[in-house]
Symmetry: C2
Subunit: 162 residues, 2 copies
DNA sequence: GTACGATCTCTGCGTGGCGCAGAGGAGAGG
DNA sequence: CCTCTCCTCTGCGCCACGCAGAGATCGTAC
């Protein structure tokens, strides 16, 4: 019993530590994103959006941009305005449904900050040098599950359940 | 040689996957933070700040708030204004150096959204049930190192080094 | 074909967070 | 006492955002 208790306590301690570290981790990303955005003379939201667009397969609608970023459709329109003015994306009406507007990334322009990303990511992969593949897989899996969990919690919050 | 090549490719694939998953992970946090902020009728920045304050040991100065959030000192002043008006923190001049203003959290008020956090975190710890302590430690360690790396990159970016 | 409701995007407006630059007040050294 | 520096606050302008309604297009029923 004593043994189990101490094991649980150790476990609690680890989870507590993880909670703390997670928050610092997130905070550091916010600062990082801000710094990169400043460097590229972009609004943080705009950079975040470009980031998300690179994760999508093919063009997306303005409405989808709103979903991805959590903005209203009106604000998404303005966001696409800025990105288009800056030359990162182009608008084109969907031929099959002319109400919709497809946002397509401009490869050359995206490649530009791909360069910045790569330079910044130089030391990043070194962080994993002493990890084997299974450990890498563990981290990937954890992030994936956390992302799903987070999305579910967001849905609950928006539904006003919590 | 062929063997090594495929191993490297597998490794590349894992890192590529991690890169993708990381970005989704970060994006989901941004949405989560936004959703929680909406729920608490707070600005995302304000919530983020409170989050960071709970990670600090004891009161912090307004200047420190600026550092933590990445805002200018002027905006940090306004941020503390909002938090104070909402009752989450109190200001008091530092007795030993009367130029400085110490920002102290109001425990009762913080406890309130501690409740929300706990309810949302209910299923969170379940994400780790099938992980043993060493695996947990691995994730903690990874986050810690990434946080440090990120801070270094931010410093480089701000210094204009890229 | 027409009418009607639903869906998608855009636009005018007001609010408010943010950076910037300078003011005000407090400490440190000559 | 003077100056130099440091910390915080304030006035100002900019612009991202939400909101609500307009405009355009699609689907469906008649």
């Amino acid at each position: 019993m004593v043994g189990e208790a101490t094991v649980d306590e150790a476990r609690e301690g680890l989870l507590e530590e993880l909670s703390t570290v997670s928050r610092r981790y997130m905070a550091s990303y916010a600062l990082f994103n801000q710094a990169v955005a400043d460097h590229l003379r972009l609004h943080p939201t705009d950079l975040q959006c470009l980031n998300l667009l690179t994760l999508e397969s093919g063009p997306v609608t303005t409405g989808r941009v709103a979903e991805l970023t959590g903005l209203t459709t009106g604000s998404a329109t303005r966001l696409v305005d800025r990105l288009e003015r800056a030359g990162y994306v182009v608008r084109e009406r969907d031929a099959s449904d002319r109400r919709r507007v497809l946002v397509t990334m401009v490869p050359e322009r995206i490649a530009e900050f791909g360069q910045v990303w790569r330079r910044l990511g130089k030391g990043w992969s070194a962080l994993f040098d002493d990890l084997d593949d299974s450990q890498l897989g563990l981290i990937i899996d954890h992030m994936r599950r956390t992302t799903e969990f987070s999305a579910a919690q967001v849905a609950r919050l928006r539904a006003g359940e919590v």
